[in-house]
């Protein structure tokens, strides 16, 4: 295990800002895993830390294939996590809107550039990602359709679903997109939650990454494959959005991952003063809940669920 500081910067009064990389094995830059990037990505931090522990053990037991190296960057943004702020400490910019970065530019552009310089030559890249809306996902791997993506590789994680979506203007400044443009097979791995650790889903993410490494000949491990099926590739239009018809207190009845029938009640909205049900939210289709909001209040029109309709 080799620990390097790949980017550092002074701060007016805080300790230096540092991004650290943990590298295992020696040889071709084969896989890079990027952990937390925003200040609320605790699940991502935890998964990254567990991957470091797992790789350390794998290295000690000679399970890493010769001629390859695997790097893990547990956090790109310790400064924001340490002050419980989602975006950059001073100017509230999002590092994941700054790629490929610019080493002569603004602070977060420099952070992105410092990271990207280190991670851009890897063959495969996994970002432990979070979603901009508060809620829980069915764990999955997602790719952006750039023409460089390879959906077959995404299947090796063994999650039941692989998400693929068309790029939007903001994608051009995301890590995943820029990785792909620089010829890295990039995956965004959604490990369920964001600001609270879910051990079961974290374990699922760790196993999925391990499975991918075994399938791609990076690790010689025996890996549990029971229950792993050929994944289903879902595109944006196969996800049925369900929005709140009214605002109020939100009582969620169904969680991400649950299978629901058409007309089954997913949630209720309760009047915040009078305690009565304002409305029930029923599933318009039979399917699996892919995304479920996890906040207990809602605006009108807020996205509450996405359901996979196959």
């Amino acid at each position: 295990m080799k620990i390097q500081t790949i980017f550092h910067m002074s701060s007016p009064y805080r300790d230096d800002f540092r991004i650290k990389a943990y590298t295992f094995g020696e040889g071709e830059k084969t896989l890079c895993i990027v952990g937390s990037m925003r200040g609320d990505e605790i699940q991502q931090q935890f998964v990254a830390s567990q991957m470091v522990a797992l790789m350390k053990k794998a290295e000690e037991e000679n399970q890493i294939m010769p001629g390859i190296s695997i790097s893990i960057i547990p956090s790109v943004n310790p400064f924001s996590i340490n002050i419980e702020k989602r975006f950059w400490a001073l100017d509230n910019t999002d590092i994941n809107r700054m790629f490929p970065g610019y080493d002569q530019g603004e602070t977060t552009q420099r952070i992105a550039a410092g990271l990207f310089e280190f991670i851009k030559d890897f063959k495969f890249g996994i970002q432990l990602a979070s979603y901009y809306l508060p809620g829980n996902f069915l764990p999955h791997v997602r790719m952006i359709h750039t023409g460089f993506e390879d959906v077959n590789d995404a299947k090796y994680f063994g999650f039941p679903y692989v998400g693929i979506r068309e790029p939007e203007p903001f994608d051009t400044v995301l890590l995943n997109y820029n990785w792909q443009i620089w010829n890295t097979q990039a995956f965004s791995l959604y490990s369920g939650t964001t600001d609270v650790i879910d051990h079961k889903m974290a374990q699922g993410a760790i196993e999925a990454i391990s499975r991918f490494m075994v399938k791609k000949n990076m690790l010689s491990l025996t890996i549990e494959n029971e229950g792993v099926q050929e994944p289903i590739v879902i595109e944006g239009k196969q996800l049925i959005p369900i929005q709140a018809p009214h605002a109020g207190i939100l009582i969620i009845e169904k969680e991400a991952g649950q299978v629901v029938k058409k007309d089954e009640v997913l949630a209720r909205i309760v009047h915040p003063y009078e305690g009565r049900d304002v409305c029930e939210i029923k599933s318009p289709v039979s399917g699996t809940i892919f995304f479920a909001r996890n906040k207990s209040i809602t605006f009108q029109n807020t996205l509450l669920f996405r359901i996979i309709n196959l």
């Binding site: 007016p12 530019g105 603004e106 009214h246 915040p272 003063y273 209040i297 605006f299 029109n301």
Partner: protein, 308 residues
């Protein structure tokens, strides 16, 4: 006439609204004055006030329609947050929105739809709390041919023609310009403050534009309409970024012509009493941006110079 552009329920006993003041004589062209996309930018508040007041005092001079939208991000303005509170999103990265999308996407869609088809939209920004700007209009290279003549009519100090970036395709201005509604982005002043003279200057410019378009029946005093400096191309602007983290102090104001080698300010260490870096102008030019907020990290923008 005050009208709702959009209205939605909020969780507890509050309606989310975006309002506009629809001032019209029932015919002619339509100009829209929009501001308050970023909740920390307040210069546009006074501009809206001055324009509404002008019409209130002389309704007979109105020969078209002026729609005033003072707050595209009302929650942000009322709670001193740049983005949209509760969503932590930049309101200017979600256009043209989506009528069936989440609350904020629907709001963006309703704003975009309401503005579409106008003869001119002026989107007024006021930098942020970190940087102070001279009055300027920012135009992407792609739309320069159409928009520069309008911007010149505003007699604004500086017209900055910048390179197009894909990420900026989700701004209000890009969404409108790319679908046939001309939109000029004005930037001036600093976040959290109102400069009366700058606002009055922009109002004179907007009045001149409205007069030229036949919307307002009186031209401003010609002495108030300056000739604009129009930037040549993308690399004509030098960016000064902090070399080191610390406290930036300066006595220089923007709107100053500076010489290569001149000191712009210092990054100091209050702990040691030492100057960490003397910030030196890399070229001659017009200092049109200067840092207003003293705390800096490596990379923080300290100023921008248009090379002369």
């Amino acid at each position: 006439m005050i009208q709702n552009v959009t209205a939605l329920e909020m969780p507890i006993d509050e309606e989310f609204r975006i309002v506009k003041n629809h001032l019209t004589n029932g015919k002619g062209k339509r100009i829209c004055i929009v501001t308050g996309t970023h909740g920390d930018e307040l210069e546009g508040q006074y501009v809206c006030y001055l324009i509404a007041k002008m019409v209130n005092e002389h309704p007979e001079k109105l020969k078209g329609t002026i729609d005033i939208y003072p707050a595209l991000n009302p929650l942000g303005i009322d709670s001193m947050q740049r983005g949209v509170p509760a969503f932590d999103l930049d309101m200017n990265r979600i256009f043209p929105g989506n009528s069936r999308g989440s609350m904020i996407e629907k709001v963006a869609h309703d704003i975009y739809t309401d503005l579409s088809g106008a003869d001119m939209v002026i989107d007024i920004h006021a930098s942020n709390i970190f940087l102070r700007e001279i009055p300027q209009v920012r135009i992407s290279e792609m739309t320069a041919e159409t928009l520069v003549p309008y911007a010149k009519l505003m007699g604004i100090d500086f017209i900055w023609i910048h390179q197009a970036a894909t990420v900026l395709e989700s701004t209000l201005a890009h969404s409108l310009n790319s679908t046939g509604t001309p939109c000029l982005v004005a930037e001036m002043g600093v976040g959290g403050r109102i400069s009366h003279s700058m606002c009055q200057h922009l109002v004179d410019g907007i009045q001149n534009l409205m007069f030229s378009m036949g919307i307002w029946d009186e031209a401003p005093d010609p002495s108030k309409i300056k000739e604009s400096i129009v930037s040549k191309n993308g690399d004509s602007v030098a960016f000064l970024n902090a070399k080191i983290s610390g406290v930036f102090v300066t006595e220089i104001h923007n709107d100053t012509t500076i010489k290569k080698g001149q000191s712009i300010g210092q990054i100091i260490s209050p702990l040691t009493g030492k100057i960490l870096d003397d910030v030196i102008a890399p070229c001659d030019g017009l200092l049109f941006t200067i840092r207003a907020y003293p705390m800096v990290y490596e990379g923080s923008l300290l100023g921008r110079i248009y090379k002369l």
